[in-house]
Symmetry: D2
Subunit: 257 residues, 4 copies
């Protein structure tokens, strides 16, 4: 059983004058920051500031890439040519890498956002395009780049087949089915908001590699990083409680390598 | 007198389905490509394709950075906070660098585009911001980055004061005043369209370091790279004629180092 | 058999400094202009200029509405909430109506563009949303608004069920199947480029209400307006030839009422 | 002395998933809503929802037009060709009018936002362009359209010279100089945050047509509508307090005609 885990959050998801989460507080609690890259949220100022705060707090930086869709916050599926998707992902990786380097840190992993994340779990070609972009960028002199995503998905399997390191992600505030998948939003048990329960699940996921599914059975779950949704109400409280519970249980919180 | 010169052009200035110049033909004639970075023109697909063609043709790649203004093609002045400008330039450098690396080449220099170029020649703070971005990006592990601009401008002076290498640019199709500045567009002699005259001026600029001003006097002019405006009518013919005239005069055309 | 027909074209599809078709020439040949509304192409300057030229030439104005996707030219499907689609269509209708009114004309019909057009022929909810927007806009004091689209599609049927007038559209440069549908692009016979054949088909569609399908059979086809694709090579020549052939055959070309 | 006044606020200034003010609460307190039109903030969904809420609350609707600059929230000056500015304003007016009509209301006035507002007070050509757009739109069948702005500015004078009705605006939370101008932000006395003082000033502005300037003198001030800045902290409390103070003083709050 691992006694080390990463705590990640989607961050830097404002745009210009708009903010959506308490980034400052969250960056004091997580170990890894999935920084938005300007396509679904984020702008150069926010990207740099987020990287600087992450660096100052010893928080690792990952690229949270999405569809080019500010209006839809990257939550709307866009059916696009795969070469364009590959190039869009490389563009976002490059832009964030430039700002991260200037901020004294570097991009260590990639996590697809919103509708792009879902597309990579449902359509092989979207999974392939994202993995192709990660490989192309990493092998062009930018150093190793991991992929942060749920274990067992099309995206994870494709990445592993291509030799890209996968960091298995667990979701703190979401219910699981007996198959280890997420309960779709809108269905009973899809969301868990009780801070105590979320904390208990976090400790169990990390120490036992297990989560209680909605049908009451226990499901094995590989988890190297736990995700706190920054735009949920109470995100800061959840992050604080989970962090405290993990530390009290003797789990070390450490940024992804 | 130098017998080596670079021939540069603004390129990759389409967007999505739109094109503005015959990029393919021009990339067969110039030695250096000022690739648009998505803010005033260009998108990830065009940026990658342009870098790949440049690499295949032995053409060097520079970042043509601009204001975020697709509608105005980067020709409208935007009064923005200087930290935002610094970050916007780094974002563009990073994005292009990512795609250039994947295309097997790298970004060697930066050239400001349109209204941003003019702003850097008129306002000290805009010149400082661009130079700050170049220095920050270069010193964060991206290798040396030169600045392509007219000699003697605020931008050139600021760059030199900060230790950034300046590549002196000469304009083939523009008239000069007795002070070595460009005749403002709209005034008599501002534009030169005759291919034969343009070619003759090109050879003289390179071999004698001199240009004939609109008042008939000869002006000294430092030139390490000659610019062909890709969106002028007849740009390809101008590039072809100038290239032939320079080669016939024994001038070597070579990409910027 | 009708002896009157409208000739429509997608127009005003540039953006800022970019153009994609010879709008000036086409507006001298067609009877109706499907003006892009800024979402997939077009900007306020182009929209106004296009309306002014249309008005000066006695050409009718329709709103060519699309997904908000300049990068993809409206050709990428976006899965969006239906209330947002309704509002996006009304926004486009309002913006074009404002500029059309100032140009001395008015918006008489709507035609969905690209991926939105295809979505309305495949998904009931997209058809419903477009019809809902047309009805809402028309009944809010903007006068009658017709829908220009292929007869028999989901969109056409929905419009008719809701009392929206449908103008049946025929495609000059596209092959038809024996069912009266378009041959999908990429398949044999999908595109017809021979100007003489296109002209002959145009006359037959209008005078006989018939088109020769790819399998050699004749298919009945209701056509009130013929579409010239403005971004095909030779669009101007096609429009000129079709116009001449129709006039010679005694068909009157007249804007939609 | 007037005993009737309008209370206006900038509203609908979110974008997609982002919000910036408590629009719902403010629309229960003001009489007139300056609705953002998608250029500096706002999108079709927000525009429609804001108009619907305004209509349901008996709140009047005005168009808050700005530079096309989501990233800068319309606060960055853009030097653009005047015909483009005219068309941009008409586009915004048309789009909002379309959505307002569907929401059962109409656009009664225009107020320039942020950097565009400042440009119209400093540069004659910007003032002329905005007035030209208002006149063109109004005279093209959209009904009378007033201009909401500070009395005595270039914009107000230009509007009056062209026969456009000006609604004189007073600022509740800003200090005034002895000339009746606003104290520039950053200088002492520029901002007033005390709710009691703001309320007292509001009553005095309306009942006596006077405001106490930063130098202690009393200045005459023509005010037909008082502005509550929606994005200030405590905007809702300010609006509530001012409304109560005015009603207690016997002033009637009424939407602009």
């Amino acid at each position: 059983m691992p006694t080390v885990v990463s705590l990640n959050t989607d961050i830097g998801e404002g745009y210009g004058a708009w903010a959506i989460a308490d980034d400052q507080a969250l960056l004091g609690l997580v170990t890894d920051a999935n920084v938005a890259c300007g396509f679904h949220a984020g702008d150069p100022d926010i990207m740099r500031r987020t990287c600087e705060t992450a660096a100052a707090n010893g928080v690792g930086v990952g690229a949270q890439v999405g569809f080019a869709d500010l209006r839809g916050f990257g939550r709307r599926f866009i059916q696009m040519p795969m070469p364009s998707l590959v190039n869009d992902v490389i563009f976002q990786l490059g832009a964030l890498s430039g700002l991260a380097a200037v901020a004294g840190t570097r991009v260590r992993y990639l996590k697809p956002h919103g509708a792009l994340y879902h597309a990579t779990t449902r359509h092989d070609e979207y999974a392939e395009a994202v993995v192709e972009a990660v490989l192309a960028f990493a092998s062009a002199g930018h150093g190793e780049l991991a992929l942060l995503c749920q274990s067992g998905t099309r995206l994870a399997r494709r990445a592993e087949a291509e030799g890209v390191r996968v960091v298995a992600e667990g979701f703190l505030d979401r219910g699981y089915t007996a198959d280890g998948l997420l309960v779709p939003r809108g269905e009973p048990g899809a969301e868990i908001s009780d801070t105590v329960e979320v904390s208990r699940r976090a400790v169990r996921m990390v120490q036992e590699g297990t989560v209680r599914a909605v049908d009451g059975t226990d499901v094995s779950l590989e988890v190297a990083s736990l995700c706190v949704h920054s735009d949920s109400p109470g995100a800061v409280e959840v992050a604080r409680a989970v962090r405290a519970a993990l530390e009290q249980a003797g789990v070390e919180l450490r940024p992804l390598p």
